[in-house]
């Protein structure tokens, strides 16, 4: 078992800098998820930890030892790939044991490890099959089994569930969680799916275009995002962003006018310095933080376009009408308590259930 530390890690492909100085401390036994949109550098970061990509600058340490110049095989890691990367010409058993056989591990020990992995993952009855005779979920198990067999100090997962259908994905998510509890080893997990990140992680690293936007526990990111990007990325459906303008200060609180909502105003107490009066700001409100008319600090009158009923809740897609520019909002309502098709809908927002960002997207607390 081992902690993983990244210090100012930079990655360049030719002249393109893909990762701009990542600093991450992963504790021993922790489950950390790297999340971010496609192409933001998650896989590159993970592959640098694995030793599959060179580190252009900075330092990576595993278990206290700098591994920049250590071969992938000697870093005490195991990796599960998005495509599973099972050897198609070998049986499941051969897939599991291949690495150990090739590196001269004693036969009895190899057998013991393969048996243990097959028990943990309940794939014992598949041992004689080839990958093409397995379902997607079974392949995924074998791929994880191949990692377990290595008895690594750190597990690395690169979008391991993205090739599975929705139902299997949930099921495997639970399995991976269980595995983490059972083995208690450090796991680093890459995904673009924020739901996966929220449900699996002890801590989440949010990446955007090669920069770390924020590191924190799932609920901390949800409640207290550092900036507009994180606020928008974490939570589903996405947070609504309402254009606003600073119109004055009131006793240490900012008074903002929602420019697309007929001059509706919200008084928001802040601990940071207040933005300049007249400046543009953005108010973030999650879909689940709209209240019935009169129950909050500021009422908004909207036109409801479409409603989606999910059973437990409904999502209403509404717009701000013609009072200023048109703004689209998603609002969560209790099931069946909505109207759509251009009906008026009055909702209320609360100062302590909304977040304020400046024009650059930085959070104003």
């Amino acid at each position: 078992m081992a902690a993983v530390t990244l210090k100012n890690v930079i990655k360049r492909f030719g002249v393109f800098e893909i990762v701009h100085g990542a600093n991450i401390d992963i504790d021993d036994g922790e489950f950390v998820v790297f999340v971010g949109p496609s192409g933001c550098g998650k896989s590159t970061l993970l592959r640098m930890i694995a030793g599959l990509e060179d580190i252009s600058d900075g330092e990576i340490a595993i278990g206290g030892k700098v591994v920049n110049d250590v071969e992938a095989a000697d870093r005490g890691i195991a990796m599960v790939f998005q495509s599973y990367a099972l050897y198609p010409h070998m049986t499941v058993e051969q897939n599991l044991s291949f690495g150990l056989r090739m590196t001269g591990n004693p036969k009895a020990d190899t057998e013991r490890r393969v048996k243990r992995a097959s028990e943990i993952l309940r794939i014992a009855e598949l041992m004689k099959r080839r990958p093409r005779q397995l379902s997607g979920g079974q392949r995924q198990r074998v791929a994880i089994g191949r990692a377990i067999v290595r008895e690594p100090q750190v597990f690395l997962f690169d979008e391991p569930l993205s090739n599975l259908d929705a139902e299997l994905r949930v099921q495997m998510r639970v399995e991976i969680s269980r595995l983490h509890k059972e083995l208690g080893v450090t796991m680093v997990y890459v995904t673009h799916d924020q739901t996966e990140a929220m449900t699996l992680a002890d801590r989440i690293v949010v990446l955007n275009a090669g920069n770390i936007e924020q590191i924190g526990a799932p609920l901390d990111l949800y409640d207290d995002p550092a900036n507009r990007f994180v606020a928008g990325f974490v939570g589903s459906p996405k947070m609504n962003f309402l254009a606003a303008k600073m119109v004055g200060a009131d006793n240490g609180a900012a008074v903002v006018e929602l420019v697309n909502h007929r001059g509706a105003r919200l008084r928001k107490p802040l601990s940071d310095a207040l933005p300049a009066t007249g400046g543009d700001v953005v108010l973030g409100v999650r879909p689940e933080h709209f209240f019935d008319a009169g129950q909050g600090d500021c009422d908004l009158t909207l036109k409801a376009d479409v409603a989606e009923h999910l059973g437990s809740v409904s999502y209403v897609y509404a717009n701000s009408g013609t009072g200023g520019g048109r703004e689209e909002l998603i609002i969560e309502r209790e099931a069946s308590r909505h109207r759509a098709n251009g009906d008026d809908l009055v909702v209320s927002i609360k100062a302590d259930r909304s977040l304020l960002f400046d024009a650059t997207g930085a959070r104003i607390r």
């Binding site: 492909f13 030719g14 990509e53 060179d54």
Partner: protein, 286 residues
């Protein structure tokens, strides 16, 4: 980028060694030899000795003319035939596809010596099956090998027979990579099959056709075995002498390595020119 020099060169070394000794160095060496007088001992640097002789040598121009003549007639005929074969073999209406494929593709495995022998025998003046069949339908025998034109025709027929199927294989693979829905869309637009061929198949196949043409030109340019064996060392009277044969004669009969190298480099020049034309023909439109 991760550099793995040691590992990479360990995999590459055996091949690169052979490649350098038996291909790369000879390419350079051949060029150098062409500037030397090689029938003196030791060889002597004489830049115009071979090249000067080359541009005034009627035998060279005869071989060049014959080679080009074969090129401009045989290659287009063969490529057209190969396109026809490929398109028809690709037709969903075709029955006994396996038999037809066998008929057209089988010559690909036949060695030059074996088929040269057969063609030589088939076109024999008095006893060849071709003349017998001509007589059978009331036509006179043709003296295939004592006149230049029919001798050339035999060479071209032989080469076409041997290589048309080879090109058809490449073209067929190209045809099969054209997505079916393109044709379905055209059919829905009431584009006739013939028009589909000219306006869809041919343009999409163009890079492959050009590729086949270049392969064929470079192959035919080096034509050696057929005039060596079928028309007996380029007969009649040098009428089917090719650059390949001239190179053989100069290099390995007269042991005139310098001059033969100059002939070889003439071929290389032609090949480079052809390749440049290929690049130009298949360039991406701007």
């Amino acid at each position: 980028m991760r550099y793995q020099n040691a590992t990479a060169y360990r995999f590459l070394a055996p091949y690169l060694l052979i490649f350098s000794i038996f291909w790369l160095w000879p390419i350079i060496d051949s060029f150098l030899i062409s500037f030397q007088a090689t029938r003196t001992v030791p060889w002597r640097f004489a830049p115009t000795f071979n090249w000067g002789r080359l541009i005034g040598d009627p035998a060279f121009f005869n071989a060049l003319k014959n080679t080009l003549l074969i090129l401009v007639i045989q290659v287009p005929v063969m490529i057209s035939l190969a396109i026809v074969m490929a398109v028809l073999l690709n037709s969903p209406l075709l029955k006994a596809r396996g038999l037809f494929r066998f008929a057209f593709f089988a010559p690909v495995v036949v060695g030059e010596v074996a088929y040269s022998a057969v063609f030589r025998l088939m076109f024999n003046l008095d006893y060849g099956i071709i003349n017998k069949l001509l007589n059978g339908i009331g036509l006179p025998s043709v003296d295939w090998f004592t006149n230049v034109t029919p001798a050339m025709a035999v060479i071209m027929m032989a080469v076409t027979w041997r290589w048309a199927g080879y090109n058809a294989i490449i073209l067929l693979a190209g045809l099969q990579s054209i997505p079916e829905d393109v044709y379905e869309a055209a059919t829905l637009d009431r584009v006739s099959k013939v028009k589909q061929f000219f306006y869809i198949t041919l343009p999409l196949l163009k890079p492959i056709i050009v590729f086949c043409a270049v392969l064929s030109i470079i192959g035919t340019m080096q034509l050696f075995t057929e005039p060596f064996l079928i028309t007996e060392r380029g007969g009649p009277g040098g009428g089917t002498e090719t650059l390949g044969l001239l190179l053989y004669r100069q290099g390995f009969r007269s042991l005139n390595f310098g001059y033969a190298s100059a002939v070889a480099y003439t071929m290389a020049g032609l090949a480079i020119a052809i390749s440049l034309v290929q690049i130009w023909l298949t360039r991406e439109p701007k």
